[in-house]
Amino acid sequence: MAEILRYEHVDIAYNGRVVVQDVSFTLDDGEILGIVGESGSGKSTIIKAAMGLLGPSGQVTRGDIYYKGYDLPDLSPAQIRKLNGLELGMIFQSAGASFCPIRTVGAQLYESMTEHEPIGRDEFNRRAVELLKKIGFDNPQRILDSYPFELSGGMQQRVGIAAAMLMNPRILLADEPTSALDVSVQKQVVEEMLLVRRTFGTAIVIVTHNIGVIGAMADKVLVMKDGKMVEYGDAKQVLERPGALYTQTLMAAVPRLRRFRPGETVPPLKEWDATSQIGNLGRGTGR
């Protein structure tokens, strides 16, 4: 598969303080890359850099981010605006909050679309309804006529995905898209994104601290710790046989549901044994 996005030895600093150091990876067409790490590890910063969303205090201080031969950090704001939305789509943690509360979803999607191409109301409506249907909304017209707050958190998040997909971007960048959601809704959103990839062949970079989401979606995984890459590779391998010590600690700390096969009996209730399960990290001094 063809490579579409490449990070080469990228350093990113806020107000001169380096927060991401020497990050390199590539993203192929249609690939899903998961970026995991704890709070403050720099994982969101990495994808914000590609969209030019670092804000006035943030800057890529070293290295390059290549997309289609463009070096993204070197582009002018006008050039960035052309790419954003049209070719690079973004989903935020609280998609609901990224909409304007006093205008309908339809009006806002229409506005974002006319920004990139001349399109009439009817044509927009036809395409929006078709897309919403494709990504699993039963009643697309009702969604378009709704205000963001009239939709549930999960619906808002799915509309956020729809908004990003309307322009059919080649890459979808998702920053903690499921973190604010209940598990049942989280699963819907994950399935939504997988459907998007199947239907449109979109490549996805998903930033999350939820290892379960990564396991369900990602082809490759990048593990970040304190602004540095600690591991990068095939998702199955990183999750099941992590190489780096930090990844091993991280994976061991993830609470996993123990399921039982039909017929299997539940082991007798035992005293909670801190040393056998979670106690072996000891008390430490926190972080």
Binding site: E38, S39, G153, D182, V183, S184, Q186, K187, V190, H209, N210, I211, G212, V213, G215, A216, T249, L250, A252, A253, V254, P255, R256, L257, R258, R259, F260, E264, V266, P267, L269, W272, A274, Q277, I278, G279, L281, G282, R283, G284, T285, G286, R287
Partner: protein
């Protein structure tokens, strides 16, 4: 041995003008035994936190009774309620916000001790001891909430909760805002304390895997009601209720 906490038909109805009444918690009844860790799971809006807020008397129930260690605390006020808090303490979801930003962690941790008439020197000594028990250096007493990380702040919040040696600890999503590695440390701390102090814990959490690891028994709440109850392994293996089945199937 009687139960440490007994909740009977506890109900909270929110009323708003022009809208139908909304029962956030709808006639729930359960008990927590001494030394037991009871988990409550459910999705957002299922009433878990409203239940916790009623039990800790932060909001008044519409109906029902709360019996703490044999005493009916449902309508207690003032001094009497303060006495009830000697037996019951709470750990909240956002540790940094649960401390007064203008006062040091040591002030917050020692407040209950001062309220119960311990002298300054004694309070300082106990605070240092509590911090250490919760895995923090004693000099953290002089720090302000914004000067420590989320995990450290949650340790301080636990130190504050156990300062007056309560019998029951109510944790409302106490580990949900923390990274998994920190979450694991906090759980290890809670289980150590539980053993040392024979604490009962009411552990409210939306992560069923965590509840499976940590709790002896679990209640599943859905739309304000308890829809299922049992040993976590048993509930996960053989969920009886449709909602519980869906919940377990959704876990990635």
């Amino acid at each position: 041995m009687g139960s440490i906490l007994s909740v009977d038909s506890l109900t909270k109805v929110f009323t708003r003008k022009g809208q139908p009444d909304f029962a956030a918690v709808d006639h729930i009844s359960f008990e927590v035994d001494p030394g037991e860790c009871l988990g409550i799971i459910g999705e957002s809006g299922s009433g878990k936190s409203t239940a916790a807020a009623m039990i800790t008397r932060l909001i008044d129930p519409t109906e029902g009774r709360i019996i703490l260690d044999g005493q009916d605390i449902t309508r207690l006020r003032g001094r009497q309620l303060q006495t009830a808090y000697r037996k019951m303490q709470m750990v909240f979801q956002t540790p940094t916000e649960s401390f007064d930003p203008r006062r040091t962690l040591g002030d917050g941790i020692g407040e209950s001790l001062r309220n119960y008439g311990h002298c300054r020197a004694e309070v300082d000594r106990r605070v240092a001891q509590l911090l250490e028990q919760c895995g923090l250096p004693a000099d953290f007493a002089r720090r302000y909430p914004h000067q420590v990380s989320g995990g450290q702040c949650q340790r301080a919040a636990i130190a504050r909760a156990i300062a007056i040696k309560p019998k029951l600890l109510i944790c409302d999503e106490a580990t949900s805002a923390l990274d998994v590695t920190i979450q694991r440390e906090i759980l290890a701390l809670l289980s150590d304390l539980r053993r040392e102090m024979n604490l009962s814990i009411l552990f409210i959490c939306h992560d069923i895997a965590l509840v499976q690891q940590f709790c002896d028994r679990v209640l599943v709440m859905y739309k304000g009601r308890i829809v299922e109850e049992g040993v976590p392994d048993e509930v996960i293996r053989n969920p009886q209720n449709d909602y519980t089945k869906r919940l377990i199937e959704s876990i990635l």
